[in-house]
Symmetry: C2
Subunit: 337 residues, 2 copies
């Protein structure tokens, strides 16, 4: 067991504080040290007898509808900010939040700060691949307009993530593009390719979305605008696919029996194709482990996210990213000066 607890923003998320407290209690029973951050009175009531879980009181909350940066700046005692501060002060090993994503990013930047050499932190998540492998993609929305150096750093951070958290030894890193031939890609992609090629990673060049999802690489680099569009298009398509298939099943009289038999298959389908199933996204590039949970998380998803943050801390994800970024900077410096 790690000595310092995982700090959970217990007030964030559509089902907080019930889902957050219940999920945290599950994690504690699994042997993970968790500290709840939020309104002590509210949280205390929810904790069952016999569960040993610490609380750090925070008197404020950032709402889902607030402008993240200004809300976090003005609310020094917001639960998400207090949780990030606990990591900065060495009282906690990681912060996990299911609240406003922008607020978590702002709190992480304010309280933890960027890793030396990282220009822009990025959000990374794991997507299911058709060959049953996994592919990580970054950035998913933190940075909508990116310079080549930002994308190159995403490649380094994504490679470290795939090695440490997914346990892949030689992750292949691709840059998302509209084609793999010479001359394809937009200006940003074409400018980033030679910079990514200099990084100490296994860069495989441009990849199309379908190739990435079929096993063409383990890490996909893109700007946050394109990454967000890709992620949300996938989520929507999978939802539509399930809906259409269900409709077509129910339309056939002979297939109604099949539909009944298939309830369990549909459930497993949803679990396998949902990005939330793998426990949320991480914010990489700040001085601390930050897990960006999905607002809709239930207690099981909260528990899974805490487990995932715990593994990232054990693997020293943040330390390894710091080392990899300084190696990468050293690799490009001779040609830059």
């Amino acid at each position: 067991m790690i000595d310092r607890p995982i700090a959970l923003d217990a007030m964030g998320g559509d089902h907080a504080p019930s889902a957050t407290v219940d999920g945290a209690c599950r994690a504690v029973r699994d042997g993970i040290n968790v500290v709840l951050v939020g309104d002590e009175k509210v949280l205390r009531r929810r904790i069952p007898k016999g569960v040993d879980i610490e609380i750090i009181h925070a008197s404020e909350v950032v709402g889902m509808d607030e402008a993240p940066s200004s809300a976090v700046r003005s609310k020094k005692d917001a639960s998400v900010r207090v949780a990030a501060r606990a990591v900065a002060e060495g009282r906690a090993s990681a912060v996990v939040s299911f609240g406003n994503t922008g607020a978590l990013m702002a709190a992480s930047l304010m309280e933890l700060g960027r890793i030396d050499g990282v220009e822009r932190p990025a959000v990374i998540a794991t997507l299911p691949r058709s060959d049953d492998g996994q592919v990580v993609i970054l950035d998913l929305g933190a940075n909508v307009d990116c310079k080549p150096s930002h994308l190159a750093q995403f490649g380094v951070m994504g490679s470290v993530f795939a090695q440490n958290v997914l346990g892949l030894s030689q992750p292949r890193v691709g840059i998302l593009s509209n084609g793999e031939e010479e001359g394809k890609g937009n200006e940003q992609v074409r400018a980033a390719i030679p910079v990514l090629a200099k990084m100490p990673i296994q860069f495989v060049g441009p990849v199309e979305p379908a190739d990435a999802l079929r096993g063409g690489c383990e890490v996909v680099v893109c700007d946050g605008f394109v990454g967000n569009v890709m992620l949300k298009s996938m989520e929507a398509s999978i939802e539509i696919a399930g809906k259409v298939l269900r409709e077509e099943i129910l339309r056939r009289p002979g297939a109604k029996l099949g539909a009944k038999l298939l309830t369990g298959a549909f459930q497993r389908y949803r679990t396998r194709t949902s990005a939330g199933a793998v426990g949320g996204a991480f914010l990489l590039g700040v001085k601390g482990t930050v897990l960006v949970g999905h607002g809709r998380a239930d207690e099981w998803a909260v528990n899974a996210a805490i487990h995932r943050a715990y593994v990232a801390v054990q693997q020293d994800l943040t330390g390894d990213i710091g080392n990899a970024i300084s190696v990468a900077l050293a690799a490009v410096e001779p040609t830059d000066t």
Copy 2:
């Protein structure tokens, strides 16, 4: 019946010339006038007796692996170029090709030219919406980096397309973004919003991929890089969704019967979720009707595409786009000068 035939590049596509000739013969039997463009000897052999179909001989072909622009420029007698030329010369009413997309675009620009006032032609396709409606999206790959004026013209062309071809009276036009709140979107999107707002269309502002696919608008405007990523992510997700669901069905002993019953449902699912089912994409903004077919098209898809091009010609899609663009230009001019 329209007097001038649809010119089909009979040499383009993975299954050409069998799928193209057979599909064209189907269309002729349906009462549509078609002219085949390609190697006369090869094509003549394939046409069944009793089918009345004209051939325009073209001695060259652009391969899928050739650099489109230079290949089209050097091969004056390439089938795709001869087909486009037939439209430019008034011998045909539309060009349909299932070959190299870049070659079709290059041939259209060279032989037909741009509509006055259109800075960049764009590729548009119809996607299935979860509410069983349809949404059109442009650009899908012709222009990877776009100015605000390009995106505004896409909005006008997309609106005309939704009215004429899909028969929607007041199509709502949105711009693809990573969020609908103030301040979301990348630089390009934020710059295009005020220009789109000036167009004589029903502009509804930024839309996220999921909202567009759930019925938030009928026309989605984006640059060709983002549009291509969205389209291909959707195609890949739908493929993965079908695969995962099939695996989960077959994993359950009790559900094997269900899987058997479901074969037909899966077939309908594929038809409903495939962009190809609606007959390919159009290149808008050139002086002529240009249908960009999918390389994998079989004879049924070829027939569907010819029908779709026929409808577009009947609706005078190209003429209406020309009119709408000149109205739009007049609408913005007073503020520009």
